[in-house]
Amino acid sequence: MVDYTKFELKEKKELAEVLKGKDNLFLLACKKCFKEFEIVEEPELADFEQFAAEHGKTVTGSAKVDFLCNNILTPKLLKSVLPQEAENVFVISCGIGTQLIAELTEKPVYTACDSIAYRGHHGMALTIQRCDACAQCYLNLTGGICPIVDCSKSLLNGQCGGAKKGKCEVNKEMDCGWDQIYKRLKKQGRVNELKNQSIEMRDYSKVNYKFIDEYVKSIRQERLEGYKGGIHPKEKKGFSEHISLSEFPSPLTVVIPLLQHTGAPAEPIVEVGQHVKAGEKIGQAKTYVSCPVHSSVSGTVVAIELRQHPTAGFNVLSVIIQSDGRNILHDSIQAVGDLEALTPEEIRDIIREKGVVGMGGAGFPTAVKLNAPKPIEVVLLNGCECEPILTADYRVMIEYADDVLFGLKALIKASHAERGIIAIEDNKPDAIEIMKSKTRNLENIDVAVVKTKYPQGAEKMLIKNILGKQVPRGGLPLDLGVIVSNISTAKAVSDAIQKGMPLIERVVSVSGERMSKSGNYIVKIGTQVKDIIDYCGGVIGDDVTIKMGGPMMGAVLDNLYVPIIKGTNGIIAVEASEREARECIKCGRCVDVCPMELHPLYYAKYAETENWEGMREEKVMDCIECRCCDYICSAKIEILSAIKTGKKAIREGK
């Protein structure tokens, strides 16, 4: 692997000169980028400290910083580390780090280093291939060998004639680039192309620093709007976004897990052989943080046994019901009246009794969330659906806008909140339009349009973006007086109140580039994934990964004989990705995209060495597992699995 280390300490003579007359130093060292990441100390800081001591200087403090040039994280850090008594700041980094620090502090800033010059730039991998970024790619004329970097003289119109035995006359170690070009084109039978090529002139005006700088800055500004980090995977919503909701055929058998929520499992209140009706309660919540479960069909209970949970990775007690095909509703399903007449407590009781949980994935019991121990000001209704491919919430907003609004009003009343905000990403203009027109005359409900960026729908990001507030470390939205709720949850709340209908069916997107027939279906809880995929014509090809949820955070399904649960917003079939992990090269992309402002590269390193203390120091428990780092990793390291390992070890008290 090529080491692209960017800087080295200046010569001692020069350093001594710079240090003259300066004292009370503060030292800031960058931990370097684009080099193989080993957990060893870079020597420059210690060397310089010793040098300063030898010259009788007082060092007031020092800090080693990852990616010193990161102009979002470094300013925050600098505030906390730079002591008042420091008079001179010495930076050990490339020129970019030093310039940034010089701008950030009023104190005089000096560098102890020279940036190492290297010719040509490189991609994300540390390879021998280089690109000089000339803005007028010649590779099409030269068989993919670059005449700018592979010819010492950067000649564009053939060899200089000075090469001897294929070696460059400037550097005898180097192959003549034009010789290489000729050989390759000859091999491809393209020598005539070379001969007939018109004379090329390099246009040096094409590379305009200012143009590029502004260009990239504007793109980045837009991309980083709202909160730091995040990524923009291909949206791929086109497979299913235009397809209206339809009822998925009622299955013959449903498998209803008694744990589909955060908290304690519900306890079964039916027996094998018992006949149940659709909407009848079959599992009861025995503790506060739990949730009842209802039958989604009418029929006979044929078993109550352990079955595989689709996403949790273990077996849970489930009620298996053979449908009688009639879907007769239970007597308890009756409208409970209008919202005005209900008290907040009554609304919460209904929501609890009807088994409503957060339907964005985590499945936290909604009634518990609404009964917050702190005053709630805002209910944020999350219609971002920032996961690629998924279109379930989008279709619900389009087709059940009134129900969603009713649900939001109920959530506001039940939590004693003052107002509600519906957040929608700007890739859903018609949903925005509908919600805006429906809320125009409502004083306490607004629509907030947010940029399309993953993970925009993560509650911490959403709160920061819309309300400008930061959920404290280890805290919850309710610490800021906020409740975040999913669009489908609001619809379920509406159904519970307006129809008396418990949460026994939900909207599921069935989609992805490997799904034969995409669609958005209203599916009964307990329907098998296998039935859904078969109904949609199966999957295409054999390199397919099937996930429950979106491509970013969804759970991979190895077994398709698992049921749809309350939190299932999608069943997707996507191309299986192949990855082979290599050494981390500290490219820093994971730090750049982490919305929680963490340093994910360390998790991979620390999991390897089982350094749980290091994991703790790098705040692994703050990770929201959005998988941005894992997605962007240029070395294809499975960072998320390292994070999960670390969290597990810490939870186990290691």
């Binding site: 040039c69 010059a117 290297y118 590029i212 990239v216 192949e578």
Partner: protein, 209 residues
Amino acid sequence: MLITQLKSKEAIADLIKGKTFIINCHGCKEVYFPEYEADKIQKELSADGDIIENITRDYICSTDNLHVQLKKFMDKIQEADTILVFSCGVGVQTLARFLEDKRVYSGCDTYPLPGIQGVTPMEFDCGHCGECYLNYTGGICPITACSKSLVNGQCGGSKKGKCEVDKDMECGWERIYRKLEKLKKLNTLNYPVKIRNYQLPFDELPKDV
């Protein structure tokens, strides 16, 4: 990190000869890749020409990763007459070396990214001059902040603090002066005359991977 711009549609259409296999690289997409424009052009090309496959991968600049990513497409690639790549120059070269017998063409031009050394693109650039001047100049780089990269003070051509080469640009040496004045370090500018050493200390990168 590099950023890429599409070549003109005509230029790209000219490259397509026979069966064509398209490879997009989204590795540096978060910095910039003309994703939607490339999509559009490729759709149009598919309508006119013989595009046998269009795939999107990432970090094709990494040789080993490239091999893994292309493994299942090798039959189709062998069948293709042209491989059209939408990536930076590093990606195109890596592919051209891997598929030595194929016409590997680039659909993009590559632009340099300011702040290439660091992790995030930003307003500061580093000229990789190998003899950092920042200690004399209040942390403002004369190589990149002065149009002429002067190392011994202003050229005298600036007007009202603006550069004579680019009227939208502040004179770097005025910025340096103001900064040093603020720091009460103006005497720093009494340093002996500097001569820039254009010899690149690490011109010869090791050739092994």
